[in-house]
């Protein structure tokens, strides 16, 4: 059976979650590998959440926030960007690989971009193969 990556997505309530809703409303089809968790702001995504998801077996994590300068909470997306920059280094050190974590600015009007992002992410994770942490952790 083909490898089907599992993606946990933290989507900000005001932009990306609404953008994902729009993809659905527009009946744009994208792979079902993604598990959305609605958060108020990308700035509320604790790097711990991402680490937990990856250590527990997710193959990738998507964080979606408002575009730069458009954050509903003034600057939460910048906070998220800085935190993720640090997390990326940790992920590389751990051997999980920072390329498994995607941070995207997707607005409420960009349903097509959301779908495209999921498609690209699934393809990229398929090429990467399963999360190596899964093998270590679960054996």
């Amino acid at each position: 059976m083909d490898f089907e990556p599992r993606i946990v997505a933290f989507l900000c309530n005001w932009c990306t979650y609404t953008g994902a809703d729009l993809a659905g409303v527009s009946r744009i089809q994208y792979p079902s590998n993604i598990r959305p968790i609605r958060v108020m702001c990308s700035g509320s995504v604790d790097p711990m959440y991402i680490l937990k998801a990856l250590l527990d077996g997710a193959d990738g994590v998507l964080v979606g926030g408002c575009h730069q300068g458009d954050c509903h909470y003034v600057n939460g997306n910048y906070k998220a960007r800085r935190r993720l920059a640090v997390l990326r280094e940790v992920l590389d050190e751990l051997g999980i690989g920072s390329e498994r974590v995607w941070f995207k600015f997707i607005s409420a009007s960009e349903g097509a971009l959301f779908a495209e992002t999921v498609r690209e992410m699934v393809d990229s994770l398929k090429a990467l193969g399963p999360n190596p942490a899964k093998a270590v952790w679960f054996t």
Partner: protein, 648 residues
């Protein structure tokens, strides 16, 4: 905890893709579920009744409605649970339509699995949801309007007419703003003074409006419903309560100086009222030029004043006000002269800007409404109007369109033609943007009936030669170079935010765009609200706009204020941050990350404190808190962790 899961088929929207019986079966053994059921249309009355009955009959303490997006029906189902006496914050949606059945139509099996996990995540969230009730904030039903131009006046009048007290603060000694300087207004060509002065006198005499002219905002603190404002009323050196506006002081004052109101095209006195119809009609002494202040002598005004109103020792007054809402309508300035040297502006006397042309054309202006050029007072026979000076010019000015210049240039050209029928106006333009009721027709009359020559192209150089202003340009429609020996040039310079607006925005803690215009909360859906609750914006402070748009926006801002004032208290979401005082060590990281100043450090107790009213519930502090003392109500770390468990 006894949680009920209610799965909606949404007709075939969900049921046609997701295998609902299979989801029901899979959920049957799930931990602490007290009730699992489905219905074809859960949002319908019978569907809602089904939820209410289950809450009562099964004694549910939590509800998950697996249906559409929370954006669609979260409030509906929270009302339903509340009607069944269950706290509405114990109800959550699981979005298995927009983010499951609709985008995965071709993969029913995978969609079914995904739906199951989305539902489980919501169950995990509800499991730890606290019972909450909205916070209540008292509201001071008085408003502050900053800026006394047409937008500020309109907002103040609308709020005052509804019966609430308004403090209107204006930096200049008079209200009316730039509109008071205009001659006629497009597209009707009615005189600006005729439509403005009745309004300004209404503002001046309105029992609910406290007018603070010659005043500025010194400080402001607080939050929606409860702002504390400190107004600084600058010394006028005239006791306005005593002064009767007779004007003797101005008549006898020996010092002449350039008039700011007349844009330095005319002189005024050191003690002056900007223009005869000014509201309030009270003079101010300009201490920078008054002989009493510069040389320590004179005092003629003091001697002639019949009521003893002159007071050279007057000091700035500090006034404290408590208000519930603020409207910012601080208006605009024009792109500074010094920056358009290539068009001879600021060098050649007969190159003027649009506002200066308004004064030349005004019946109460320096030329009594005759179009005479500033250098020698001659009536210009050829006038060149140049549009987009600084606007739509990424390199030398601003990328944005100043919006009103196409219209006022057409107006200027037409008014010039009415007054100098044998004169020839030329207009250099990039495009004509005449969107507005009656606007296009107005421009058409200029081009087709009144002999205004429109040349599509830019001007490369403007310089003085033998008493003429030579204009080199290009007409891109005929593809020819154009050289005009004009008598006067009028530049439609870009609109920029009023000076000091950035500092005011900082004081109010509201944001501006990169050019300094105030940012609205949403460009389409919340155009008069700032991101700070209780602070609204109107007029050119937000972006260049014409009088009708400014008035519309002001009315809209006033309506927002009135909605705020419609009750004694406001409700605020209880889903905000809380601090566990046992754990907090007072490091202050949360204070730093808070974008709303909702957090402060209690130095005495050495811990962080949340102002729940200011907190918007973004959750940034929960991440920043190194000790885990901060918790986002109903979205705490433990909840998210269990939600992650549910979907992996």
């Amino acid at each position: 905890m006894k949680i009920g899961v209610f799965i909606c088929h949404c007709g075939l929207n969900i049921g046609g893709v997701v295998d609902i019986p299979k989801v029901l079966e899979a959920l049957s053994g799930y931990d602490s579920l007290g009730h699992v059921t489905d219905y074809r249309y859960m949002c319908s009355d019978p569907g809602q009744q089904l939820i209410k009955d289950a809450i009562r009959d099964k004694g549910l303490t939590g509800v998950v409605v697996a249906a559409c997006s929370p954006a669609m029906h979260e409030s509906t189902f929270r009302r339903t649970t509340e009607a069944a006496s269950l706290n509405p914050f114990r109800c959550e949606m699981a979005n298995i339509r927009e983010q499951c059945s609709w985008p995965h139509r071709g993969e029913p099996e995978k969609a079914t699995q995904k739906a199951l996990e989305i539902i489980k995540a919501s169950v995990e969230k509800v499991r730890k949801n606290q019972e909450l009730s909205p916070l209540s904030i008292p509201v001071t039903r008085q408003a502050l309007v900053i800026g006394g131009g047409i937008a500020g006046m309109q907002a103040a009048l609308d709020i005052a007419d509804a019966g609430y007290n308004v403090a209107l603060v204006e930096r200049l000694p008079y209200i009316g703003g730039h509109m008071a300087q205009l001659s006629e207004t497009f597209p009707t060509l009615d005189c600006s003074q005729c439509i403005l002065t009745p309004k300004s006198s209404e503002v001046g005499s309105h029992p609910n409006i406290d007018l603070f002219t010659n005043s500025e905002i010194h400080a402001i603190s607080g939050y929606v419903g409860n702002f504390d404002v400190v107004i600084r009323r600058k010394a006028a050196y005239v006791n306005w309560d005593v002064c009767n506006g007779c004007g003797l002081c101005m008549e006898k004052c020996p010092v002449k100086t350039d008039s700011d109101f007349e844009l330095r095209l005319a002189k005024t006195k050191a003690v002056s009222i900007a223009f005869p119809q000014a509201v309030p009609n009270r003079p101010v002494i300009n201490s920078e030029v008054c002989r009493h202040f510069t040389q320590g002598k004179c005092g003629v005004c003091e001697k002639v004043c019949p009521v003893g109103a002159i007071n050279f020792r007057q000091e700035d007054a500090i006034i404290d006000r408590k208000v519930g809402a603020v409207v910012v309508a601080t208006g605009y300035d024009l792109h500074p002269k010094t920056r358009v040297g290539e068009y001879g502006y600021g060098v050649a006397k007969d190159v003027i800007d649009g506002l200066e042309f308004e004064r030349l054309n005004s019946a109460s202006g320096p030329t009594q409404g005759e179009i005479r050029r500033p250098s020698d007072g001659k009536i210009p026979k050829e006038v060149v109007f140049i549009q987009c000076v600084g606007s739509r010019d990424q390199e030398n000015g601003y990328p944005y369109c100043s919006k009103i210049c196409c219209m006022y240039t057409a107006k200027h050209a037409r008014l010039y033609k009415h007054k100098v029928p044998d004169g020839q106006p030329y207009v250099f333009y990039m495009d004509i943007r005449a969107g507005g009721k009656g606007y296009e027709e107005f421009v058409q009359r200029a081009t087709e009936e009144e002999g205004v020559l429109y040349l599509r192209g830019r001007v490369s150089r403007v310089f003085e030669e033998d008493g003429k202003i030579v204009v080199f340009g290009v007409d891109t429609l005929s593809n020819k170079k154009v050289e005009i020996h004009a008598d006067m040039v009028v530049l439609a310079t870009a609109i920029v935010p009023a000076h000091g607006q950035t500092e005011l925005a900082r004081l109010l803690k509201i944001s501006t765009d990169e050019w300094g215009f105030l940012s609205e909360a949403h460009p389409k859906l919340r155009p008069v609200e700032s991101l700070t609750r209780g602070i609204y914006i109107a007029g050119c402070a937000q972006a260049p706009k014409d009088i009708p748009d400014s008035v519309t926006q002001a009315g809209s801002a006033a309506a927002k204020v009135l909605a705020l004032f419609s009750s004694d208290t406001l409700s605020h979401t209880p889903e905000v941050a809380v601090v566990d005082e046992e754990i907090c060590r007072g490091c202050g990281l949360c204070v730093e990350v808070c974008a709303y100043d909702a957090r402060t450090l209690d130095m005495r107790r050495n811990l962080a404190v949340v102002n729940e009213v200011l907190c918007e519930g973004c959750g940034a502090c929960q991440v920043a808190c190194p000790s885990g003392a901060t918790c986002q109500r109903n979205m705490d770390t433990a909840q998210v962790m269990s939600m992650i468990d549910a979907v992996i």
